[in-house]
């Protein structure tokens, strides 16, 4: 029964949307894989009015494509309408306050914005492309490497659009992900992922070169990182990811650097070796220009400690920005890592 309801959920939004009227730009199109060659997840097409920031969570079950056998996915093609802030897919684990709705409709904003709800949900894939010329990402994993899904496994597709000050959405919101399967006999290693999110961050007006760094050790045995991207918001100036050897303390030169917060690079041809007892070191550096006009405290608390040490006597000590998913008023420092062979799921924060 649950399976049927969720399967219906994949299509219901399209029906309920009815005739949305002419779009400023057409929705991105992506044909689903033919029967037996994969499956598709898609959001509905929704309006993103001016001044609005919206995040939607959709739930789906992995179909049974081979009589109950694992579904191995070797190629992921993701597409989204221009203006998207992010699209991510997670495997659903512990349910806190975010769950499939009885009627299969998406969870819009609210609990879909609360990252504590998916704190232990392993990453499947993500995309941050936002420009019209770069709205599709086609990634074939290295030979022998594949995602492993079980039929009936619950997935959550999350898509975030902003049409406000920091980011614009020219048309409607819409995202699609195609998962292309590969025969199990061709798989030699399961893909693993790390969603590492540095949550204890705060950036205040007047801050320059404000940096946060942390490490995430997840490799019990040596692994190879094949893909990576970083995610922060408009105050983000530089995002770096390095390999880290916890045994020796060695941190490599960055293998990933992003200076473009709203359309960051997604490296998919990496071959970064991580030793046993190793992982990543990631750093986010922010500049936050002092607002010209009166501002609203990003965290709603207006709780910054007044500057009393002479470092910047003109600093505005209010209106600081803390960790959170709202682009306009919060910041992120999230690293998305794809590697093989898969290790235990790690949640680094």
């Amino acid at each position: 029964m649950i399976s049927r309801a969720l399967r219906l959920a994949a299509f219901a939004p399209l029906l309920l949307a009815g005739c949305p009227g002419p779009a400023a730009t057409p929705d991105v199109q992506l044909a689903a894989p033919p029967a037996g060659q994969g499956f598709q997840l898609a959001s509905d097409s929704f309006d993103v009015p001016s001044g609005i920031e919206t995040q939607r969570c959709y739930f789906y079950q992995v179909p049974d494509l081979d009589h109950g056998q694992p579904v191995w996915v070797h190629r992921v093609v993701a597409a989204q309408n221009p203006g998207s802030h992010h699209l991510s897919v997670f495997r659903v684990k512990t349910i806190v306050n975010l769950a499939p709705t009885p009627d299969g409709s998406p969870v819009v904003d609210g609990e879909c914005f609360n990252s504590g709800n998916w704190a232990d949900w392993p990453l499947v894939t993500n995309l941050q492309n936002s420009t019209p010329a770069d709205d599709v990402n086609d990634w074939t994993l290295p030979d022998g490497v594949a995602h492993k899904f079980m039929p009936g496994e619950l997935l959550m597709l999350q898509i975030h659009y902003v049409n406000a000050t920091t980011q614009k959405t020219p048309g409607r919101g819409h995202g699609i992900v195609n998962f292309w399967t590969v025969d199990a006999s061709k798989v030699t290693a399961e893909l693993g992922t790390v969603f590492a999110t540095d949550q204890q961050i705060r950036v205040c007006p007047g801050d320059v070169d404000k940096t946060f760094e942390t490490t995430c050790t997840f490799a019990k045995t040596p692994v190879t990182i094949v893909g990576a991207n970083g995610h922060f918001h408009s105050r983000g100036r530089k995002f770096e990811i390095c390999s880290y050897d916890k045994t020796t303390g060695a941190v490599s030169a960055p293998f990933y650097t992003s200076t473009q917060w709203d359309d960051p690079p997604f490296l998919q041809d990496l071959a970064v070796t991580i030793p046993a007892n190793g992982g990543i070191d990631w750093r986010c550096t922010y500049d936050y220009a002092r607002p010209a006009a009166a501002c609203v405290s990003g965290d709603g608390k207006n709780d910054c400690v007044p500057v009393t040490n002479g470092c910047d006597t003109s600093a505005t000590s209010s209106c600081c920005i803390n960790f959170g998913g709202h682009v306009e008023m919060q910041e992120h420092c999230n690293a998305f890592i794809y590697y093989y062979p898969k290790q235990e799921n790690a949640s680094c924060f």
């Binding site: 512990t94 232990d120 204890q200 961050i201 070169d209 940096t211 760094e213 400690v305 009393t308 040490n309």
Partner: protein
């Protein structure tokens, strides 16, 4: 070291500190340092736990840029009332199978000022434990060697889910 009352306290040899539950999840140790003869603005502070016997890393590291404030006796220190300005050393869980509990450790803080000058301070030997509060069982589970996320779900009636 920042104690559970939010005060910066010097580490006495053999002293036991409780790990703390931060908003971001897991358990951390907040570590600070006192310093002088440096540019106190925009100082990068990196904190990590080491095994007291081998000197090997016993935790992940956490670093953050913060301004130091005068302590009134010629020294400068981060504002320990503000957890954003002191390293939140990630202590539990350890995804590589180790544990920070029940073993002698050292807390190390490396400081780099805007001119690139670096200094390192290492504490006397210390031990870590879980706070004896409602989340004690959750903490012991998440800080155990060979951590298994599933076995820690819904402990303490779910009030400590993180």
């Amino acid at each position: 070291m920042m104690d559970v009352g939010g005060q910066l306290v010097a580490v006495g040899a053999g002293q036991t500190f409780d790990v703390q539950a931060p908003p971001q999840g897991g358990y951390v140790l907040y570590v600070g340092v006192r310093a002088r003869n440096l540019d106190p603005c925009g100082v990068m502070l990196r904190g990590q736990l080491l095994d007291a016997t081998s000197g090997a890393a016993a935790s992940d590291l956490d670093g953050r840029k913060a301004d130091l404030h005068p302590t009134g006796d010629g020294w400068w220190a981060p504002d320990v009332s503000d957890p954003f300005d002191v390293p939140n050393v990630p202590t539990c869980p350890d995804y590589t199978g180790g544990t920070a509990l029940g073993r002698p450790l050292l807390a190390r803080v490396q400081l780099t000022d805007r001119a690139g000058r670096t200094a390192t301070a290492t504490s006397p030997s210390l031990q870590l434990d879980c706070p004896r509060d409602a989340c004690y069982a959750d903490c012991r589970c998440r800080c155990a060697a060979d951590y298994d996320a599933q076995s820690c779900e819904h402990l303490d009636g779910g009030v400590c889910l993180r």
